[in-house]
């Protein structure tokens, strides 16, 4: 009997600890639901945090909202339906990707307008530069100063 005990003890010591411990359970039961929740939640705002996604937040309200979204996913609602439901309840504020509306047109078009303006200015500048290739960039005095500086630099 004593031998058996020793053997058991030896096993406990030698065996890797992982064998004895339980594998931790994920917080959500269904991995597919969790994956969808994750893709939805990274684009949703936690409404009580300063600036955090629903996925990252650990606030109790975020926890509740995640549970609600889980339930909606379980009810086979599409992503679109879930987002519509949340917007109806909380407004556009809940979306980190602002929806396309009249008021957000400038927001979404802005970068492209900027690029257009920047590109136009660039092309015009390049054209103008090419026409007026003034060769005498440095004045005589500047040339002499440059020479002086260079010769000093070599010593």
């Amino acid at each position: 009997m004593k031998r058996v005990r020793v053997l058991l003890f030896m096993c406990a010591v030698i065996a890797p600890t992982g064998v004895w411990a339980d594998e931790a359970k994920p917080l959500g039961e269904n991995p597919q639901v969790e994956a969808r929740l994750k893709t939805l939640a990274v684009e949703l705002r936690c409404l009580v945090c300063q600036n955090q996604t629903l996925a990252d937040s650990s606030a109790p309200l975020a926890e509740d909202l995640r549970r609600e979204v889980r339930e909606m996913i379980a009810k086979n609602m599409t992503d679109q339906e879930i987002i519509e439901f949340l917007v109806a309840r909380y407004g556009d504020f809940v979306l980190y990707r602002p929806p396309w509306r009249l008021t957000t047109t400038l927001l979404w078009l802005g970068p492209f307008l900027l690029l257009l303006v920047g590109g136009t200015v660039l092309v015009v500048t390049l054209r103008r530069r090419q026409k007026t290739l003034p060769e005498t960039v440095l004045s005589e005095e500047e040339h002499r100063r440059a020479e002086r500086l260079l010769s000093k630099g070599n010593t």
């Binding site: 339980d22 931790a24 990252d56 400038l106 630099g153």
Partner: protein
């Protein structure tokens, strides 16, 4: 008594700033040498006064003088001394004092390292900086005074926001402000040049090292802020496009454009008008950033101070500084010559195109940051502009910019030959394209973004290799070592900084592509395996901190049965502020971080635990550090050292 000394020192500093901002400028305009000579002693005197004020506020924090409102609001007798001192810049008033102090530091640096500048130029530079300082001092003394008394005194302070009680707080804001405020030097150089009407290559040469130093500080400052958010906020993010992050990123984008534009002005005499505009822009964005963060306009992870009452002064100040300098620019800039001509395909044109992309990116960040504020102010509804928007906009803008980054340094000045460029770079392109397409398969997952990220990073590195190889073979020298030594440090600095971008891109790409996150419920003794690492929850115990209580978990990490590390994440409760904080535990490594953060206690003694395996994440900050080292290498170049030595000789 001590706070009154500080207050008085600030008033005197305001007087000195008034003198510094007027007499030297008048002197420079009228050619009066004695008026111009006022600039240097005024700048140094102002520095001393602001230093005194700064030390007085520090002393008030050190001795727990809760009769000072600012101290009572941001410290507590139980707060450790180093955090009490860091609390100087823990909120609005003290941050402005830090800002002004650092501005004075830069002013003194200008007085020390400007012997080679013409007298009028130096007088104008210090005069402009004096005016900026005047604005800040006036702001502090009228609406944002850190020395205001609280009578009767509070028995104890309200404590520093627990988020800020971290070593990051001690070093991150000063670093960031060194960068922000450093751009004031480039700004002052530009305004001085506009006033004097002498925008020549020499101006660009003088202003270059200053701009680069400021940029290095800003780069490191932003990286530190990002790293701090990563381990402090407990959700493993390193960049959230938060308005406060954007506020520091916009000057960085403008500053990056400025460094490159200055290089062209210095070497080729071109882009002068554009360079001046960028200098104004970079500093204006720094001002905007400071005020956005510190005025409470934004409500975000970082916006700790909120007081909208000061908004009017801020708006007026911004309007005067930005509007005034733009007016001056519009008046003076057309007189500035065009500089050397160049072909549509040349290094100049590529640098210019890259500048345009950087500025458009900056403009987009600005738009996304301010848009919700404007909508809200106009009563058109509340929206959130977050990472999905910025990612959508930023990636398409940066992709061509980084492509040009590889191309530019290889192209000749003035006129480059496209077919020849293609031939020179065919290997670089082939290797990076092939590797970028295939490598993700080897790593086990292929997505277009993964491939794109790797392509850009490899492109930057391979083109740098081609460039160095060409440069060295064209040199005359006996051995490879003498050839390498003949290459100027500024060149190595540039290549290194570019490679830093590549390292950063690898980090971002890998962590976005391969990070593993697991939210689990763990009892003592439970294990979880992610990314091949097994985390065992060994124990949890209570501890007492100086001003908090904590539950500290012990997680033993093994891989294939071998020990890796033990991690101790904490959940802290700060008594005074009545706030719970998550202290994540991180094991950093060259190719991966292991990240554990404790969530909430659950029923039956279990805890919700968040575990991450983040491959290559440290490359993000490593890349920033490499960029900054590149900058330092560039300013240690021979031409600057020679200039410095000549100054020393002249002074002796």
């Amino acid at each position: 008594m001590i706070p009154e000394i500080g207050h008085f020192a600030l008033i005197l500093a305001l007087c000195v700033a008034t003198i510094q901002g007027t007499l030297p400028l008048l002197g420079a305009a009228s050619g009066n040498a004695s008026l111009m000579a006022v600039a240097k002693p005024a700048a140094r005197g102002q520095f001393l006064l602001v230093l005194i004020a700064f030390c007085c506020l520090g002393a008030a924090f050190a001795v727990n003088d809760f009769s000072v409102l600012y101290v009572a609001a941001n410290a507590n007798s139980k707060l450790p001394l180093h955090y009490r001192l860091a609390a100087i810049w823990g909120a609005h008033e003290g941050s402005l004092l830090l800002w002004t102090f650092i501005l004075c530091l830069w002013m003194v640096a200008v007085t020390l390292f400007s012997r080679h500048l013409p007298e009028a130029m130096r007088a104008r530079i210090l005069g402009v900086m004096g005016l900026v300082s005047f604005g800040f001092l006036l702001f502090m003394l009228t609406v944002s005074n850190p020395f205001l008394r609280l009578i009767p005194a509070a028995p104890d302070g309200r404590d520093l926001n627990p988020l800020l009680q971290d070593p990051g707080m001690v070093i991150h804001p000063p670093m960031l402000y060194m960068g922000y405020v450093g751009f004031s030097v480039a700004f002052a150089f530009a305004i001085a040049a506009l006033l004097g009407g002498n925008l020549d290559a020499a101006w660009a040469r003088w202003s270059r090292p200053w701009t680069t130093v400021a940029w290095c500080f800003l780069t490191v400052g932003i990286a530190m802020g990002s790293g701090w958010a990563y381990y402090e906020l407990g959700w493993g993010g390193w960049w959230f496009w938060d308005p406060v992050e954007n506020a520091s990123f916009m000057p960085w984008l403008a500053g990056t454009a400025l460094i490159h534009s200055l290089a062209v002005t210095d070497k080729r005499g071109g882009f002068k008008v554009w360079t001046v505009l960028l200098a104004i822009l970079a500093f204006s964005l720094s001002l905007l950033g400071t005020f956005l963060v510190r005025s409470g306009v934004l409500t975000s992870v970082h916006a700790f101070a909120t007081d909208p009452k000061r908004g009017l002064f801020i708006l007026a100040f911004l309007a005067v500084v930005i509007g005034g300098s733009l007016l001056l620019y519009a008046w003076r800039a057309p007189r500035v010559g065009l500089g050397g001509g160049f072909d549509p395909v040349s290094r100049e044109s590529m640098l210019l195109a890259n500048n345009v992309l950087l500025v458009v990116a900056m403009g987009s960040v600005l738009l996304g940051t301010l848009y919700p504020l404007f909508l809200d102010a106009l009563g058109l509804g509340k929206i959130s502009v977050g990472p999905p928007y910025f990612d959508t906009v930023f990636v398409p803008l940066m992709t061509p910019a980084i492509f040009l980054m590889g191309l530019g340094p290889i192209a000749q000045w003035k006129k480059a030959d496209l077919p020849a460029l293609a031939v020179r770079l065919r290997w670089a392109f082939g290797v990076s394209f092939g590797t970028a397409v295939l490598l993700p398969f080897v790593l086990g997952k292929w997505t277009p973004l993964l491939s794109l990220g790797l392509l850009l990073a490899l492109w930057v590195v391979t083109t740098a290799v081609v460039n160095v190889r060409e440069r060295v073979t064209h040199l005359t020298g006996d051995s490879l070592m003498t050839k390498l030594a003949a290459v100027p440090r500024a060149y190595w600095g540039m290549q290194l900084a570019h490679c830093g971008i590549a390292v950063l891109i690898v980090g971002v790409t890998m962590v976005k592509g391969f990070e593993v996150e697991q939210d689990v419920r763990m009892n003592i003794g439970d294990t979880t395996t992610i990314g091949g690492y097994t985390f065992k929850f060994d124990s949890i115990q209570d501890l007492m901190g100086p001003n908090y209580t904590a539950a500290r978990g012990t997680f033993h990490v093994t891989k294939n049965g071998g020990d890796v590390t033990t991690l101790y994440p904490e959940k802290r409760f700060y008594m005074v502020q009545n706030q719970t904080m998550t202290e994540a535990a991180i094991d950093s490594g060259l190719v991966r971080d292991l990240y554990v953060s404790l969530g909430e206690p659950l029923q039956g003694g279990a805890w919700s635990v968040r575990l991450y395996h983040k491959p290559f994440i440290d490359w993000i900050w490593g890349g920033c550090l490499i960029m900054a080292i590149g900058g330092v290498l560039a300013i240690s170049d021979r031409r600057y050292r020679l200039g410095w030595r000549r100054e020393q000789a002249a002074a002796a």
